[in-house]
Symmetry: C2
Subunit: 391 residues, 2 copies
């Protein structure tokens, strides 16, 4: 009898260890950044629930994340230079390094082997082995006369173990080829424009576009033809108009591509610029509720959802792409910071920081499917990002 009890206890203990990491697919998982608490919630989009919380990720203001190609691990980039590898299945920190003093996001290579981080302080890009977080490359952004390093912004995967990024004070964009991480090949594009502050790569990985804070217009590089160098597009889109004060810089990675059109937040204006991708000409402007922060296309490209900077950050607007008109104005909650679509677009998840909620909408009916409690939620990231180019 006692023997059986011992076995039972042993089995229960063993079982407990096992069930702590549930056997399940990872394709419908994601994380919600809880910026104030330094934690992430692990969420699941099939039943639209939170599965658990992982704590101890440091300063997560302006945090972002990428995913391992198997969807099991999230790499979370913290503002304090922390790079944390989170195991979504065991719901724990698998590994963590503090790799710089001040960071602004990162990317993962197309083969999933390299994680790159963009740093403000000290300025540069550090590259890590995705498996172990061992440093494999360091690319200091030394360009200024006094040997100082420029802040690195707009770091994006550009395919084939390459990363593209921009140097804020230096007005340069660099393309780093890490086919051999021990010897990174760096191609420099100088004078791309004044103060590039963020960038995007189009979903096909072809075009790198940097927003310029120091001048009107944007810098464009065709990554299929880098020999052509950087060109300017949308020059002077603000000419002769008095810009409004900028409370928050738009996020360019959020720029929406829908069919042949890109939808760009106009800095300091209550408008989205509509750009024809084939010739990069502005083909229209859409007046919106406030200063856009994220303009995200539903994966089918038929709708673009937009959130706004303070003081209009309780509103999300929905734009119908065929007619280029605002068709809905929603109020999900207080201080909407981010939105993320499920990969086929039937749901959108919206973080309302000051309501301590993530609000999930059906994108067809635009009705609320559920609300999930979260502590001051900001960024929302789903594992399907592992399959996408240019993030």
């Amino acid at each position: 009898m006692r023997k059986l009890l011992v076995c039972l206890v042993a089995l229960l203990l063993h079982g407990a260890v096992v069930t702590a990491a549930e056997l399940r697919g990872t394709g419908d998982l994601g994380i919600v950044i809880e910026r104030a608490a330094g934690s992430v919630q692990i969420v699941e989009t099939t039943h639209r629930v939170a599965l658990g919380r992982v704590e101890g990720l440091g300063d997560l203001s302006h945090a972002s994340a990428v995913f391992s190609r198997d969807g099991r691990y999230a790499y979370v980039f913290g503002r304090d230079g922390g790079l944390t590898k989170v195991d979504l299945l065991e719901r724990r920190i698998a590994n963590r390094v503090v790799q710089a003093g001040n960071s602004i996001g990162g990317a993962i290579s197309d083969d999933g082997s390299l994680v790159a981080v963009a740093n403000y302080e000290p300025g540069g890009v550090k590259v890590f082995d995705a498996e172990t977080l061992t440093p494999v490359a360091d690319i200091p952004s030394v360009t200024l006369a006094d040997g100082k390093r420029a802040k690195v912004v707009g770091l994006e995967d550009s395919g084939h173990r390459r990363f593209a990024f921009s140097l804020y004070e230096a007005g340069q964009t660099w393309l780093a080829d890490l086919a051999d991480p021990a010897h990174p090949k760096v191609e420099r594009f100088e004078n791309v424009g004044k103060l590039p502050y963020d960038a995007l790569v189009t979903p096909d990985g072809r075009f790198y576009i940097a927003g310029l804070f120091g001048e009107d217009g944007l810098a464009l590089i065709d990554l299929w033809h880098p020999e052509k160098g950087a060109t300017h597009i949308l020059e002077g889109y603000d000419k002769g108009e008095e810009p409004l004060p900028v409370y928050k810089m738009p996020h360019l990675e959020g720029w929406a591509e829908a069919g042949d059109l890109l939808f760009l937040p106009a800095i300091g204006r209550h408008e989205l610029l509509v750009v024809e991708r084939r010739d990069w000409q502005e083909v229209g402007r859409i007046p919106v509720h406030g200063q856009p922060v994220f303009a995200e296309a539903r994966p089918d490209g038929r709708q673009v959802w937009v959130n706004f900077a303070h003081p209009d950050n309780d509103v999300v607007q929905v734009i119908d792409v065929p007619t280029l008109r605002v068709v809905d104005t929603l109020r999900p909650g207080k201080a909407v910071l981010h939105l993320e679509f499920t990969p086929r677009g039937e749901q959108v998840w919206i973080s309302a920081r000051d309501s301590d909620e993530v609000v999930v909408y059906d994108t067809e009916t635009r009705t609320v499917m559920t609300r999930i409690n979260a502590a001051k939620p900001s960024g929302i990231f789903f594992t399907a990002r592992a399959n996408r180019i240019g993030l």
Copy 2:
């Protein structure tokens, strides 16, 4: 002592059960159809290995598969009407129904809740609960004067729990809305053209295009504007030319969309047709090695890889999209039946049936990364398909 042994045995047994289903992400998994053996191999693209085999799936000639939105389960559609739900983690059959006498593929709804199967015999579409494989809807394709059912082909997900499919003998395309599976709403497009034999939905879910075996040209339906009805495109692309005998019908789901261009296998010709998506006009033809079967775009749209019908089925050609020229001719093995890109396009997996191998290429260098033994492999399907619209 004996007590300890008993415990040890108990634990080992328990441990064995657990390790049979390895805790892992599912984002880099896929299946390879082994048509002759009625089995599938479960493969993993990060280390490029086969993980195990699942048997007992029946007649898998012309089999295809879709995936649950969490990436854990594959739904395999067999030619014998079998619908098999395969658990990729436990590597076993989770469920199986023989739902018709003769089938030709299927689709899964955008919310992952419904699996639909296209049937030849008896003609129609059956819809199942993705969780349990319980039948939830039956849409017989009765259209012929004598009450006979037409064969159903080209069944595709068209978003929002809707499926589009075509009726071969009847020359019709139907759009079935299963928002309420108990009461499917079916919209019929009559006289779309003679003998639609397969179809595709563009990656954004907007356009349904059916190939016509009974006449030159293709039928196009804008799913954003179904009220406009079906129109014809590329009419008479073969006019005045003597078509070659057709050994194998091209697979339209394989039609490649790269940027604004579609690449279509020309039936009975050694050419790919290049079509401008904006106005559906033919803008070029690319002479190729044989009669194309699959023309697949690398996810970045910069390359299109093509395989061919007998007797040219030992060759795969690579087309450079910017120049519309064949830039490489590869010989992966004997009887190449299918090819599948990893979601970010750094690898392509190619099945060489008569070599009993799956050959994995690096798409940049076009060198062989590895070869994996498989018994008469045909279709290759990766879990990233769960995230894609229009399959």
